[in-house]
Symmetry: C2
Subunit: 344 residues, 2 copies
DNA sequence: GAAGTATCTGACACCGGTTACCGAATTGCT
DNA sequence: AGCAATTCGGTAACCGGTGTCAGATACTTC
């Protein structure tokens, strides 16, 4: 009998002189197995170079060895960082990453997610903001019995299902810093209303001004969408004001970069004529000139931790011993885009 | 008998009063089927909301409905763009995207790729540079009988397996532009030696100078790694030269942005004191100030096209009728980072 | 030494599809 | 009408694993 293709569990069983069920037990590290038998089977597995068939396991277990990433995020750099963090956690495991962008606006969004989850039978899934802020997708995962973790800017779920940051407080800190330098007319470029992170950051901004007793004209708040283009429009609107703001806090780095772009386009110097603070600390923040003072959002760590939460059960044994953190404090990074206002 | 969970092919067959084989034929659009039968079965499928089980099909067909993306690329924005292009092509299909970064340096790289491909039984796989330039991975796909497409900066494979651009020529064009403006001392920040794209771009650079009869001191070429950090170091080295170059071509936008950063850090004006040209036209090129003159590399289109090549067979019927292009011309984008040298 | 118990191991059905093969039904042709 | 060719649909085996449960073996206990 010619042996073609890869060896299967049957080949292993036959050669080792045991049943395939026993081989299955070896693969799945079943505890109730005689160690001699185990050693014998493992030897055969090694000799043959046997690798269990993923598809067959998926069928029998009704579960794939795939981790999903569901997102609807306008910020490419951020998505990339999340992927990097997750892949780091999954490195050298048998898990793979499957990426699924969805359309937040679509009326079939929830159905799309459901179909995706039901079809793929993922081992676990991670949601990025803003989808992660949608309570219904979490509900859906619970209903389908799928492990999930949500990433967000506030705690929305229990620790095992959440990695969050403290956006509000750190923005307050950043704005306090501007105030301490003497800024009084401080503009805000807000994020999209649908994002919890946008609301948290705005809240942090308003808290700082309120604490300092600064009354903020409504016109100093401009709306953006977390994209460069909307940031540019918002910045232009703020810089057209008279008197101009002496500092602007943009709710993410893309829009902060756009603010810098807008300022320089009209011949202003940064930070002399305008101080700028961003949020995220993505690559662009340190790449542009002057490098941006911004809030470091530890997104790679968050993503890694999220993936580890999903895999915790698989790694088993110590499981809860090395509990992954759920709150990741953001920190203010001082760079060159902030200075005292020009004239006191 | 209680019906729990999702309906299976057996349920459909029973209710429609046909055998599961017939249902299977309907699903797989088998041509030899009575249209009445087909209609009846399709009706039942619709009523039940039946969806074929992906895992079972994967097992039986020895093939998954997954498209892989294998990359080892330092440029996050580029990888993101590729994903966007591929996902666009895969939108509304039953295919999903599975992402696999690998470690080019690793001695087990080829084994890693093989294991990945063998385990996952992908429908097709796409390789990004620089892995895509490795002839052995292509050989591997042929051996395993897996559809593949390589993305690169030169034609390395037959049309159905390749999407390529014309880096060399367009760089020549860009440098000719600098020469026409009067630049004579033009620096090059080269990409890593292992990248075909880096060699093509360098070749284009050297061709332009040669055609113009400009002899280039070796010191005007600095090595980079396509990352911002290495670009910064290379730019610093070039700007330390005396006399300084009046223009610098950086082999990608990241390094061009770093050059701008380095120049401004030492108080130089761009483009007055230094002209800069980049390559890729990623987001950062238009976001920084001044916006970069750069080469637009149509990577999203390339990626979309690559994915469509992989899926061509699946879409079937017209198949070769709408042949996807394989060569994607890059074009020079004129923005504000280039001007004539300061003094004639 | 017999009975009881804990520990392994194997037979068999099953996950939900597909393919091979075969028989039945329909159609075409003389 | 009779026979072959063609089309359609069904049965059974298979893809390569896992769950259930009973049987075999080893170890205690009295």
């Amino acid at each position: 009998m010619e042996r073609t293709g890869k060896p299967t569990i049957n080949d292993v069983a036959r050669i080792a002189g045991v049943s395939k069920k026993t081989v299955s037990r070896v693969i799945n590290r079943s505890p109730l197995l005689n160690s001699d038998t185990r050693a014998k089977v493992e030897q055969v597995i090694a000799d043959l170079g046997y690798v269990p068939n993923v598809q067959a396991r998926a069928l029998a277990l009704r579960r794939n060895f795939l981790i999903g990433l569901i997102h609807d995020n306008p910020n490419a750099q951020m998505v990339m960082n999340v992927q990097a963090g997750m892949l780091e956690a999954m490195r050298d495991t048998e898990f793979e990453l499957i990426v699924r962008p969805i359309d937040r606006g679509s009326s079939t969004m929830l159905e799309d997610v459901r179909n995706f989850l039901e079809r793929q039978r993922l081992y676990g899934v991670m949601f990025l903001p803003p989808v992660s802020e949608n309570e219904m997708v979490a509900e859906l995962c619970r209903e389908l019995g799928i492990r999930y973790v949500r990433m967000g800017s506030a705690t929305l779920d229990s620790s095992e299902h959440m990695v969050a940051s403290n956006d509000s407080e750190v923005v307050t800190e950043a704005v306090n810093h501007l105030i301490a330098l003497g800024h009084r007319r401080i503009g805000l470029i807000a994020g999209p209303h649908g994002f919890r992170s946008a609301r948290e950051r705005r809240k942090g901004f308003e808290n700082a001004l309120e604490e300092a007793g600064i009354k903020l004209p409504r016109s100093l708040i401009a709306d953006g969408n977390y994209t460069f283009e909307t940031g540019l429009a918002a910045a232009d609107r703020l810089l057209d004001l008279s008197p101009r703001p002496t500092a602007i806090f943009a709710s993410n780095d893309e829009m902060a970069a756009a603010t810098l772009h807008a300022a320089r386009r009209r011949g202003m110097s940064v930070p002399e004529d305008l101080s700028i603070v961003g949020f995220d600390d993505t690559a662009i923040a340190s790449h542009i000139w002057p490098p941006l003072t911004t809030v470091h959002w530890p997104i790679i760590s968050m993503a890694r931790s999220a993936a580890l939460k999903l895999l915790a059960e698989f790694f088993g044994d110590d499981g809860s011993a090395v509990e992954e953190p759920s709150l990741f404090p953001s920190t203010l990074i001082h760079r060159a885009s902030v200075a005292p206002p020009r004239e006191g």
